[in-house]
Symmetry: C2
Subunit: 271 residues, 2 copies
């Protein structure tokens, strides 16, 4: 744990980190930012590769973050900086006085599945098909962790999982639940080749009610885009269509609410 | 259906309507704004008291809105205006070209309960205790309508139900499900005096799992504030504490997701 001081928003490190506020910057550098004491602590405790922590020199660093830093196995560059620097690295109206730079992780989905399957025998996964709203995606990850879903596959074309709003809405779940970003159609093919079943959330005529579906064994549940639902390409992969009944006049449920109802029912049946 | 033209943002009507973007203005005038063709159509079709519709003179009025206006039983003041006026009455980045002024409704909760009870025999209500996030509140109303909850009581101290973000997140449910804003503690007392039961969402040690709770007959389910949960004053009114198990590492669920899991389980058991 080193301690440095930065004084200017013109500092090259600050300029580089500022680029992580855009998807392009995150893809080029393969890193992302997390803001706020709680999320920085979660990142440090999770074993994520935290590279840099910058905190507001006018405030004391949060004690929980200090402890997590002290226990972090890898060296972290710790930097004190003025409020202007923190503001430059913040997407929120009131910068929270601490921000961390974290390396993206890239695990191999197929290997992960094989290993998990050997450990547990069965698996329950969420496949997310072009979820667009950052709040929805973050909330779905938070719910998936709460329900102890084994992992999440985020289809290409979805909002970036490392978007600041997503990260904040996960409440730290991002650091604790495996998330893979890749082609959903290819993933479904691999999953089916491994004996997995694909349940697609849709109001199709031949769909069964969420409380009558079979979630046993190797099950992946597909949640669709907020506007158009699950794509036609994914429809072809369905072993079963499942829906949540709309008893009232509403045309649909919010994607995160629907995901929550599905995953809790799946776990209720599996337990 | 009258047709008028307004040309300036300085017009007194525009100035008055602009005040409806603030809670203070909505409380003084007892009216609120809804923006976008879909919501304006829903307001007109629902029987809500629509006073004024202003649309962008550069665009044609949405055909569904035109039909809804033609079928609306009361006279509505219809006004064409330039984009600048629409922008002045919009909270969104890209104004949607149509906005309606709607009168708030104020029904008597106790009378409504008595009547509904006579019609149906049983009732399932949601009590919301100081929900603060507009997106959460709107999503909860949308879910409540989908699950055919009979009505919602929004405790004093919550975000304003007529806040533009709330109205948009309801997807029109606001116009189709009864919502009462009033003291939740007093409402709970009245409800219990009528023989109603109060279920409180909480992780208290003596709480039962959401799938083992009794939702029959006259049941009100209380969902708490995003940060601190249900208030201590409401705790005193509990007939039963209920919780959603957190199987994974998450500390809590999003309030709208929790409400969705609860109300769907309640309806699953009641049906």
């Amino acid at each position: 744990m080193t301690n440095e001081i930065i004084t200017s928003v013109q500092n090259p490190l600050v300029k580089r980190l500022h680029q992580l506020l855009s998807r392009k910057g995150r893809e080029e550098q393969q890193r992302f930012l997390v803001e706020g004491a709680h999320l920085v602590e979660e990142a440090l405790k999770s074993g994520a590769e935290v590279v840099t922590v910058i905190y507001d020199q006018q405030r004391d660093m949060d004690p929980a973050c200090q402890r997590a830093l002290a226990n972090h196995p890898e060296a972290v560059q710790v930097i004190a900086a003025p409020e202007t620097v923190l503001a430059k690295l913040s997407e929120t109206k009131s910068p929270q006085g601490i921000v961390a730079e974290v390396k993206k992780t890239a695990a191999d989905w197929a290997k992960w599945v094989d290993q998990k399957r050997e450990e547990q025998g069965s698996l329950l996964l969420l496949f997310l098909d072009e979820i667009q709203d950052p709040g929805n995606l973050g909330t779905i990850l938070r719910t998936a962790e709460a329900a102890a879903i084994d992992g999440v596959v985020l289809g290409s074309g979805s909002v970036d999982i490392y978007n600041g709003k997503v990260v904040r809405a996960t409440m730290g779940a991002l650091f604790r639940i495996p998330v893979f970003t890749q082609s959903l159609v290819d993933t479904a093919d691999e999953w089916k080749a491994k004996g997995g079943r694909v349940l697609i959330s849709s109001l199709e005529q031949n769909s069964v009610s969420y409380d009558e579906a079979d979630y046993a064994g190797l099950t992946a549940l597909v949640i669709g885009n907020e506007g158009r639902g699950v794509s036609k390409e994914m429809f072809a992969k369905a072993d079963q269509f499942v829906h949540i009944p709309l008893y009232g006049g509403a045309e649909s449920l919010n994607a995160a609410v629907a995901a929550g109802i599905f995953v809790y029912e799946a776990q209720r049946k599996r337990r």
